[in-house]
Symmetry: C2
Subunit: 373 residues, 2 copies
């Protein structure tokens, strides 16, 4: 039996794993990038019959480090440590969790900031504009590598939730159950518009050099102001008005006239722009915006016609990007397609990011779904 | 008796009027700009006893041209032509309407893009950062010039509504009635944050040259991309998600993959950035953000302690900038101060801009208030 190394409320996890594709990765739109590295992480133990594997799909900003700490000194656990762990919503005492860093994300897999061995320079502007289908394909490759022919469940939030929906539509027989939070089968127009504005902010920064900015801004401290501004816009769309009132109101920084919200947004934008890659950011948002299961399959009923997995959709009433009404609409269509759907509509001041915060409200429903699956 | 030149649903108005202040204009924060020109417009006829004057305060983007057309060939009437006119909400058959272009706005009054006679160059970065108090003071100067010691009513929406509230607080005895739409006694933190982001977008444009961009971008076709982007952000905050769904959804421009909302926002941003002045924009938004009657008077009850005019507050349930809850809160405080307030809470998909669109829903309440006043 596997003995987890518990560490307070979290645990010691294994380091990221690497899968090298010598033949490269063929993108949905036709481009081939070779060689290609896929980085992924796993947690818990795969059952002998491989029936307990849960795929967690990460969103735009985070990477494959879902839960746990790499060592005792690790400052922070993974991004969904409140959901995934021993005794938690996705209980590692029973489940084997896999998270794959999607192609184009800068957290390990081959991405726009990776060196192109053919040129000796980062791919930059030449890196393909990827699609949600590519994220699913990279996860399918890892599943095959691990000998997992069917996921007990596929779970995700935001862009991760969109990938989970894409799994159910593309590979219905390989998905036992579906957990999708703060996401829908397409981004509603408001989110599309904010993404487009963010992308224009990145592209308007002269230092971006149309994507080939790696030489111009070398060193780990380099930061594109355009990406920082784009993230400030993005961060606004993740918050609710009520949460901003409670957190900042119109308060000023001590002894100055600067609004507290101003320094908070600058800080959040800077933190992001010094660690994330601008080419990954604009491509990842474009992938979100381009996904549209209605357009792709003709209707949502057609998209989910063959899927029968127990499904949990979670919406948050202060989410601007994926409003609860939109997720309610998805729920209706899936039900009409014959999918057993539970739509958990949560009231919270925490906006789009509630899936990272409101664990007491979402964990019970996740546990219940996995017990049934 | 005055015979209006009616023109379809509108009328022929007089050209803008000019008031030259030889001694200049002393700004609230101490700066003097001299000489200084104030441009204003008037509609209808001032009664012999000067009891029928209504001050309309304009918002950030529009100017003093409230209603009517300058000539038969004029493509568009003034910005509040649905409210102000013969037989309309503010009926010119009974009222004399005044609108003053506030100091710093680029529609005629001396502004950052005006020539500084002392240097032979536009004021640019040297133009003062003005306050809502300056808008009120310019209106007070015009009232004095016209011999109007008391307004029958002061009306405005958005930044114009904030000026109306400032009038009631600064000159309570000079305001007979108050009409304030989509505005409050301070901008809530969400709006402050969007304004700050917009300002950063303007200032991040290298072509802005810290405000002294007039030489660098000469000619009427010149446009700052930073201002265009800021306006796209601003425009988003004026719309509701429901209106965007209805107007655009996820539709693409015929034969292309470009989202319709993308070309709409680019167009709106361009239209604004080719006609409005960037220095005026960032200063006007800062003036909005800095106004805070609670901070200034200690409490809203204190701010309105001496005001007794009949008051109409109008809120729109899809307004992100001034949520109905915030206007409800203002209404409660004013009532506690002893002001007779009617809060008209309107349900509409039209967002912040509903005051320019939902005339059937707001005109009756305005007429009723003016009949009582």
């Amino acid at each position: 039996m596997h003995v987890p190394h518990l560490l307070g409320d979290s645990f010691i996890c294994e380091p990221p794993k690497i899968l090298d594709l010598e033949g490269g990765f063929r993108f949905h739109h036709g481009d081939l990038v070779a060689p290609f590295t896929i980085v992924y992480e796993t947690y818990g133990e795969l059952a002998a019959d491989r029936s307990n594997a849960v795929l967690v799909c990460h969103a735009l900003s985070p990477g494959p480090h879902v839960a746990g700490r790499y060592s005792r000194d690790d400052a922070k656990p993974g991004w969904w440590d409140g959901m995934v762990g021993y005794g938690k919503g996705i209980d590692l005492a029973q489940h084997f969790v896999v998270c794959v860093n999607f192609p184009g994300s800068p957290w390990g897999s081959t991405a726009p900031n990776s060196m192109n061995p053919a040129t000796g320079r980062p791919y930059g502007s030449t890196y393909p504009w990827f699609a949600v289908e590519d994220m699913v394909e990279s996860q399918r490759i890892v599943a095959e590598h691990l000998g997992i022919s069917r996921w007990k469940a596929v779970a995700g939030s935001s862009l991760g939730g969109m990938q989970a929906l894409m799994w159910a539509a593309m590979h219905p027989e390989r998905v036992g159950a579906l957990i999708c939070m703060a996401a829908a089968a397409a981004v509603p127009v408001t989110g599309v518009a904010w993404h487009l504005i963010g992308r224009k902010l990145v592209e308007s920064d002269p230092a971006f050099h149309r994507g080939d900015y790696y030489d111009a801004a070398p060193g780990s401290d380099a930061m594109l102001r355009g990406l920082q501004l784009a993230r400030m816009v993005g961060h606004m769309t993740y918050l609710s008005g009520a949460a901003m009132e409670a957190k900042f109101g119109r308060r000023r920084r001590g002894g100055t006239r600067q609004f507290e919200v101003d320094s908070y947004l600058e800080y959040q934008g800077q933190k992001f722009a010094t660690t994330y890659d601008a080419n990954s950011y604009i491509r990842g948002q474009a992938a979100m915006d381009e996904m549209d299961l209605t357009e792709q399959f003709g209707s949502l009923e057609a998209a989910f016609a063959k899927f029968r997995g127990a499904t949990l959709l979670v919406s948050f009433d202060t989410d601007w990007l994926f409003p609860a009404t939109e997720i309610g609409r998805l729920s209706d269509h899936m039900r009409r397609a014959g999918v057993p759907v539970h739509h958990l509509a949560i009231s919270t001041p925490n906006g789009h990011d509630a899936f990272l915060l409101d664990y007491p409200l979402i964990v019970p429903a996740v546990r219940e779904l996995l017990e049934r699956a």
